[in-house]
């Protein structure tokens, strides 16, 4: 498996390429990778992307200050206007949020997402942080993108322990591959250049659905150069610890 830094660069660039110019795009807490990807997209093909975040800074000019948090005041200080969380949720309810970035801990082939508990809800074996906005944003955002820096059989399971929400996923990106949700199932969209279909299957708790094996596009030199400029401290790799 490739080094974490190169994997996180690949994931960040892949996410950036999922975003279109002019879209309204939201990320929450602990979301350095999508935050950096949004900035990369704005520098590349999507200058009119609207970056929305919990503290409410619309289109912050930089994310270099967001060292330990993607919900801090720096995003407002460097933003063009103020549009806080309450309003972003309302926007999504009205069907006007184009893209939402969300997490989760367990996923199954049917598009069920668990961010709540391992084991029983009332008396859990493991209490997870919770779905945050997932349960209302996944059903309402035009495109819900899940990113996850772990890809193993405890993450991609046959059946999730608890359904925090389900359906209307668009893409899931992991250190190994990209899934696309369509017709009620997770389909393999592409596998990353550094892995094999066998490795992906080995680390996935349900049979992979695919017609042909496509490879995720590797980051270009230009993408990597801009990435290093907008995120010199490599916050995008924070979740790889």
């Amino acid at each position: 498996m490739a080094a974490n830094d190169s994997i996180s660069d690949l994931m960040t660039c892949t996410i950036a390429n999922m975003l279109l110019d002019g879209e309204t795009v939201f990320h929450g807490v602990s979301s350095q990778m999508p935050m950096v990807a949004m900035h990369l997209a704005r520098q590349l093909h999507a200058p009119n992307l609207v970056h929305l975040n919990i503290p409410g800074g619309v289109n912050p000019s930089s994310v270099k200050k967001s060292s330990y948090s993607s919900a801090g005041a720096d995003l407002v200080e460097l933003g063009e206007a103020y549009f806080p969380l309450e309003e972003i949720f309302d926007l999504s309810m009205r069907g006007k949020l184009d893209v939402a970035f969300l997490g989760g801990v367990q996923f199954d082939i049917n598009g069920n997402v668990n961010a709540s508990v391992i084991g029983d809800y009332e008396k859990p074996k493991v209490r997870l942080p919770g779905g945050a906005g997932s349960a209302v944003l996944i059903p309402t955002a035009k495109k819900a993108i899940i990113w996850r820096t772990k890809h193993d059989t405890r993450t991609f399971v046959e059946q999730v322990d608890f359904v925090t929400t389900r359906g209307n996923l668009w893409k899931i990106i992991t250190p190994l591959c990209v899934f696309e949700y369509r017709d009620g199932k997770l389909h393999l969209d592409s596998i990353h250049p550094h892995t094999t279909i066998e490795e992906v299957q080995e680390n996935t708790g349900f049979p992979l659905l695919y017609d042909e094996i496509r490879y995720t596009k590797a980051p270009t030199t230009q993408e990597l150069a801009i990435l290093r400029k907008i995120d010199p401290h490599n916050y995008r790799a924070a979740e790889f610890g």
Partner: protein, 278 residues
Amino acid sequence: MSKVIQLEKAVDTIVDGSTIALGGNVLHRAPMAFVREMIRQDKRNLRIVKTAGAHDIDLLCAMQAVKEVDAGFVSYETVYGLPPHYRKAVQSGQVKANEHACYTVISALRAAKTNVPFMPVSGLKYGDLIEKNEYFVVVEDPFTSEPVTLVRAIVPDVAIIHTQYCDEFGNAIIDGPKYEDVLMSRAAQRVIITTEQIASPFQIKQWKDKIAIPHFLVDAVVHVPKGAAPTSCYNKYDVDDVSLREFLGLKDISAIKGYVDKYTNQDRGTHAWQRTIQ
């Protein structure tokens, strides 16, 4: 007419079993001095309400002050990891986690703000959260006969909000992100402001467009410089990385009590002028 009181007095008004909304978000502008004083005064059976909490909820759970948590997300952000004490307390059954979708906390507070028993939520449609939690219910819209999910109102007994500036009457200014604090100030029965700085009448007049919470909504004002530490307070200080890491390294209750005690002088104020406030 000054509402400025000492931290101990303000915390003394909190009754065991209260529902408490805490301002700020994850690692930012949490009312930590108030939280620590609640621990010193051994408050119990609290129900904590917040969209996304971290150190505040984790610390209260560590010291067994909490009965229920209504939140969408409880965790330190990436670099500090998961909240060990909250998790343990929920897993052992000591604390009941009422999981919300962040937005449903907002909706439940909006219901309180407008004094209605519930708020309809359009986005919450599928999944076990609706099934497992009695505060969500799906009914038929009387206008269209379509199903609509309702969330029950959450009326905090008190909202605790830490701000950069507040005058002695309670006109409070929040610099930078306001998170759900303004909503909480309208949803709660009582509002207590802890503030970095007591603004002068002249200052508050200059900044009147920035007043987020007008005085007539506020019951008490507490002057606590560094009152959000070790979380951040915009324009005043950043996260105290050393303190947070120290806390996250502590396992047993007596060590955590010691950690809270180290803040006592800072929280309660040691300056003579502060002690003279009634």
